[in-house]
């Protein structure tokens, strides 16, 4: 069960990098490729296999003008979606 203490990490073989041709962040995975939207990019920049979901939400809440609950909902939804699609481990 995903909660605030869960520590998300990129799965083996997954690379999150900036593509200079498109000038956009891309998430490269085994035979899959994701073009994360702006919110997802900010979340994924904080995924390092050490930060918990709570820590990610705190970081975003300090920088973006939105209620913490709303941010937490977005973060969990984004991470769970990418977990189901095989890019992240929760």
């Amino acid at each position: 069960m995903t909660d605030g203490a869960t520590v998300p990490a990129f799965r083996r073989g997954v690379k999150f990098r900036f593509d200079t041709v498109r000038e956009a962040w891309v998430l490269l995975a085994p035979e899959k490729l994701f073009m994360p939207d702006e919110i997802a990019v900010e979340i994924l920049k904080l995924v390092d296999g050490a930060r918990s979901i709570d820590a990610i939400v705190d970081d975003l809440a300090a920088r973006f003008d939105a209620p913490r609950d709303e941010i937490a909902t977005d973060v969990i939804a984004t991470l769970e979606d990418l977990s189901t699609r095989g890019a992240l481990q929760l």
Binding site: G13, K15, L28, P30, L33, T84
Partner: protein, 365 residues
């Protein structure tokens, strides 16, 4: 009229060679395969990889035939990785020795997709035409895992192995795959030739659908299962290659740039060669890549369809093979006037009790 430049391609599929130690009857390679002497040289492939990185390609898939049959594979992987390309090898695994695994790892390989023909050795080796192949694949899977690489186990499904799909998924779990592909045979090339011996019935399909749905739920978040449905039974066509000239460039062993790997079956095309043209120009303006790009080429019922930018009209090669016209709606679509031809093919396969097939072999001329 000016045509806007297309978005950059995402993926490059490099068919290094049509040589392969296996002879899978479901292979989608063309019947007329490229002779070894026509293959691009190492330097030509290195140049293609440089061009690919320049135009925004993100992932390179080394395929074939058997890509490991090329002695320069490690060099090509290293070059691609140094250019920031995500590298993937699609292999049978029978040539993946300890030494080859170590060299690929050092070269910076990101991912390996390993194909299996069945859950057990006897039927797997029969369909692959390679005695001892299954055992070698099991060893290859272990090497991939021990190297710390992610593993995709690919199982191609047809009526001769379909009842063992549950065992295949169990094998993938046991091997520690992070991802599995349960892929119904796509009927091109050798598979089309052998269709009557391979195409499953509606009952068999329903069985697999159930097994896959259960496994997906059980493995959610742990192992991703990509399920490729057989479009003969479908109501809607697959978005072949994510749309013609929309995401991928496929290069044949002899250097022809193709919008999909079966495209050479289409008449009336001259596919550009990377020996003669730059990848950038091929992608942006060649007739081969622009002819079915987008939606302008579409006939009815595609043209007015609300799914035209989801399905992209389906597959051009299948439209030709089944409906006789590459510019027709894919007969896999229930809105196609030729959709009944799919049901007829299923009925013909169902009436066929002979399970013999023609093994895939390179015609050495």
């Amino acid at each position: 009229m000016s045509v806007p430049a297309p978005a950059p391609p995402m993926g490059l599929i490099i068919e290094l060679t049509h040589r392969c130690p296996l002879q899978c009857a479901y292979c989608s390679n063309p019947l007329a395969m490229d002779a070894p002497r026509s293959e691009l040289t190492t330097d030509e492939w290195l140049d293609v990889l440089d061009q690919a990185a320049e135009i925004g390609i993100l992932q390179v898939h080394f395929s074939g035939g058997e890509p490991m049959a090329r002695r320069d594979l490690v060099q090509l992987v290293a070059h691609a990785a140094a250019r920031g390309l995500y590298t993937n090898i699609i292999t049978s695994g029978v040539l993946l020795t300890d030494a080859a695994m170590a060299a690929l790892l050092a070269a910076g390989i990101d991912h390996i997709q390993l194909s299996f023909q069945d859950a057990h050795a006897a039927p797997a080796d029969r369909i692959g035409g390679y005695h001892g192949g299954h055992e070698k694949k099991l060893a290859a899977a272990r090497r991939i895992r021990e190297a710390g690489l992610p593993l995709t186990a690919n199982f191609v499904i047809h009526r001769q192995n379909i009842e063992r799909v549950g065992e295949m998924i169990a094998l993938g779990e046991e091997l520690g795959a992070e991802r599995m592909e349960i892929a119904h045979t796509q009927y091109y090339g050798w598979a089309l030739l052998n269709r009557d011996a391979l195409l499953p019935s509606a009952e068999q399909l329903a069985f697999v659908n159930g097994v896959v749905a259960q496994a997906r739920e059980r493995l959610n978040g742990r192992i991703a299962i990509d399920y490729v449905v057989p479009d003969y039974h479908a109501a809607r066509p697959k978005a072949c290659m994510g749309g013609w000239g929309n995401r991928f460039i496929n290069i044949s062993p002899s250097g022809k740039a193709l919008p999909c790997h079966a495209a050479e079956t289409l008449p009336g095309f001259t596919f550009p060669s990377v020996r003669e043209q730059r990848l950038r120009d091929i992608w942006a303006s060649s007739d081969a890549f622009t002819r079915f790009r987008g939606t302008d080429w579409m006939p009815e019922p595609c043209r007015a369809c609300d799914r035209r930018e989801i399905d992209w009209g389906g597959c051009r090669c299948q439209a030709l093979a089944i409906a006789g016209d590459a510019a027709a709606t894919d007969p896999a679509c229930h809105r196609s006037p030729d959709h009944h031809l799919m049901a007829e093919a299923i009925a013909a396969a169902g009436a066929n009790t002979v399970l013999d097939f023609v093994p895939r072999r390179l015609n050495q001329d």
